[in-house]
Amino acid sequence: MKRLIAILAVLLALAFAIAPSSRAQGLDNLSVLSQAPTSMWPSYNGDYSGRRFSPLTQINEKNVGSLGLAWAFQTGARSLETMPLEVNGIMYITGGNEMWAVDALTGRQIWHFVNGRPGGSSKGAAMYKDKLYMTTPDDKLLCIDAKDGKLLWQIPIDDPTLKAFGGSAPLVVKDHIIVGTGGDTADLPGYLLAVDPDTGKIQWRWDAMPKPGTPAWNTWPHDTDVVTRGGGMTWITGTYDPDLNLLYWGTGNPHPVENGAARAGANLYTCSIIALDPDTGKLVWYFQGSPHDTHDWDMNMTPVLFNGTWHGKPRKLVAQAGKNGMFFVLDRTDGKALLSEAFVKANWYTGLNKRGEPIPDPIREPQPDGTLVWGSTGTDWQAPSFDPQTGLFYVNSQQSFGVFYLTMPGIHAEGWAGRDFFLYSKSMMKAIDYQTGKIKWVHDFPGREGLEGVLTTAGRLVFTGGSYDNVLALDARTGKTVWQTFVGGGMSTSPMTYELFGRQYVVYPAGGTVFAFSLPSRAGNTEEMSGN
């Protein structure tokens, strides 16, 4: 029955897929991003849900072994963290301070935009109608004409003097460009901005640091100004539920990073999933996955939205695999925790509070003479994926063990205030059953520290990057490798997929090159080879 529903869902999604009838049109976000991606990959996560699940089945478990290179686009950048977009046959690829528009059928460059000095990282762009939006390493928001790559306007987001950085992909919700910010060095308060897509005017700002008089204010001490210095950065793109009209975003760790004594309390709204009204920026609910963090566990990881049956009842869910190694399933209407389970070995929490949030063990806070922590990083910005066909949540994770030293004690500490070292780290993909939090299978990645994200498709495949600069496809049910190719460059982003003129492409940015793979070519390429 479950399988039948899944198949129906896929057929339905395909029926609504938009054919690439004409090229280079603008993007109607609400209708396109509200469904699973097929002919387009129009946003950082492919759709609003953050599942990174495509209903495409042309490439599937049976034929994936014959996947080959369709084209490769060499950006000339040293490495890419970008999540390419593909809209109406054109791919948009970002680097730090630069963007390329590339023909998604052939891989040929259409335009190249450079803003000042290229360099640094960019995780991707957003598109609204015929405009593109990206943030820069020095934390500006740029608006670019998608037709010709000309800069239309730019606004500063935050001041890079104190090491604020941009680079994350904005999210378009209705007529709001939602922009996050980063900065983990000199104690900056985090926030989200909604920006007018045409004028660049700020529509609203949500602050991660609470206001006086609110209950959250009391989760910080007030004998210093630590609550104004913050943390709670917003540097990974969030998700959106159009039916509930709620925006979901993860927030980063509090500051000073490794000195907990300087900020006794839970430190809201750091290390939380927050649900906001996207029209006003008002907080609707929060869930703090890592209260009073002292280990740099910014819980910015994608809040993934899907519907499921929970104890016999249909429920709207949000799931997150956090940097602290915890996997959470919440009711996304109200933020109520349904499941909180560690997905890596962890020794830093003593149990769960009544909200389902872990209770940190004080002995695992960084100490002057060091403390040993299992689960020193569970995962990072690499995107996870949820496959509704298998009911599994796939996350590339690390089993790590580290030692944390406090170097700046006292309540006047600022910045990092500690030093930490990994003693052990082992990379693997984990497939988590969201109903139980149990690990269904593990795929080991020898020989690297992985930052590769995940894509799942209705072809029963999991796409990711693997050991020694390989890209791979795994069987979604077992985790066994079913296809791999050496691309000679590391991957720090996620694969994506789209269908164009009847052909499905799987795209991997790796090293400084974007590789598009597909099944053996049809007429097009052979004609070119035999004719002319």
């Binding site: 490495s79 963290e81 730090g96 640094g120 990282s121 003097t161 104190l162 090491k163 950085f165 980063g182 983990d184 060095t185 000199a186 104690d187 210095r229 943390g231 950065m233 540097w235 990073v257 740099d296 910014d298 910015n300 002995i363 002057p368 003479d369 060091g370 403390t371 040993l372 020193s376 990083t377 690390q398 790590s400 063990f401 030692v403 030293y405 700046m408 006047h412 500490a413 600022e414 990092w416 030093r419 930490d420 070292f421 990994f422 003693l423 052990y424 780290s425 082992k426 990645f445 020898p446 020989g447 520290e449 930052l451 050991s467 020694y468 390989n470 490798t481 791999q484 050496f486 720090s492």
Partner: protein
């Protein structure tokens, strides 16, 4: 926050090179170079001047007090060789209550500027650079355990003496590492994080014996083991690579396997005791 932690903290220079090759993102700390002896001397002189003249208002760790925070400051961070800091020091900011330090010479101000910039650099670092920079964790801070208990662990439950000797390979071990955290990481995890990559070598050589289908055995340092291939440097000096499907078996020998197996057994107290014991081996 941000993604830098994944790639933090190894104890080998090779690891720094490896890291800088990967540190494309704004999330990774960019390691500054260790100061030259001349710079270090200037910073030391500046530190003394700072503690004497400035710390009372700006805080002993520069994070502020009666006067502004100098770490989280646009002025100090935008300063180039004293062009912004210098005039404030020599002329003061009388309206804001900062006196002029006109008695300080230009070279003294240059030392102060060097110290302030070095403190900002250290502040911005997420971790220590192997080799002991910044030098903000003295051995005494880590030697909080019992040397006797550490010694007992060495010869007992830790099974360290199965392979090591305080008069043999560990003689004067505490004098060999200027950076105490390096010593601490070494005795827990001697080849750093990447020891757990099957091919990483630092002082230790992970080797493999590859048995080919015809029964030939090839041995040597392991270069790659995974992704469908095994690769070794053979005794003939050449790199040899086979598809895993074309070999009968691969036996990996990791000389620090005992340390890997030991990892789950460490607790804070044993770590402090062991460090305190090894500190006696000067």
């Amino acid at each position: 926050m941000s993604g830098g932690t994944v790639l933090k903290s190894f104890s080998a220079l090779a690891a720094i090179i490896f890291l800088s090759a990967l540190s494309a993102g704004a999330q990774y700390p960019v390691y500054p170079s260790k100061p030259t002896p001349e710079q270090a001397a200037a910073e030391q002189r500046g530190k003394a001047l700072f503690q004497q003249n400035c710390a009372v208002c700006h805080g002993a760790n520069l994070t502020g007090g009666r006067g502004p925070d100098l770490i989280r400051s646009d002025l100090t961070r935008q300063d180039k060789n004293g062009n912004l800091i210098g005039p404030v020091v020599s002329q003061g900011r009388i309206e804001k209550g900062m006196p002029a330090f006109s008695q300080l010479s230009q070279s003294q101000i240059a030392d102060l500027v060097a110290y302030i910039h070095s403190e900002i650099t250290v502040f911005d670092l997420h971790t220590r650079i192997p080799g002991g920079y910044p030098n903000d964790i003295p051995p005494s801070q880590l030697a909080t355990g019992s040397a006797a208990a550490g010694k007992a662990f060495f010869y007992g439950a830790g099974h360290c003496s199965d392979c090591h000797s305080p008069t043999g390979d560990l003689a004067h071990i505490a004098s060999r590492y200027l950076d105490p955290t390096t010593l601490e990481q070494l005795f827990i995890s001697p080849a750093g994080t990447l020891a757990f990559s099957p091919t990483y070598r630092k002082g230790v050589t992970i080797t493999a014996s590859v048995t080919l289908k015809d029964g030939t055995i090839m041995e040597g340092p392991l270069l790659e083991n995974g992704g469908g291939y095994v690769s070794i440097q053979g005794s003939d000096g050449w790199t040899h690579t086979w598809p895993l499907s074309d070999v009968k078996s691969v036996a990996v020998h990791n000389p620090v396997q005992a340390h890997i197996d030991m990892l789950p057994k460490w607790n804070n107290e044993e770590m402090h005791n062991m460090f305190t014991y090894l500190e006696t081996l000067k």
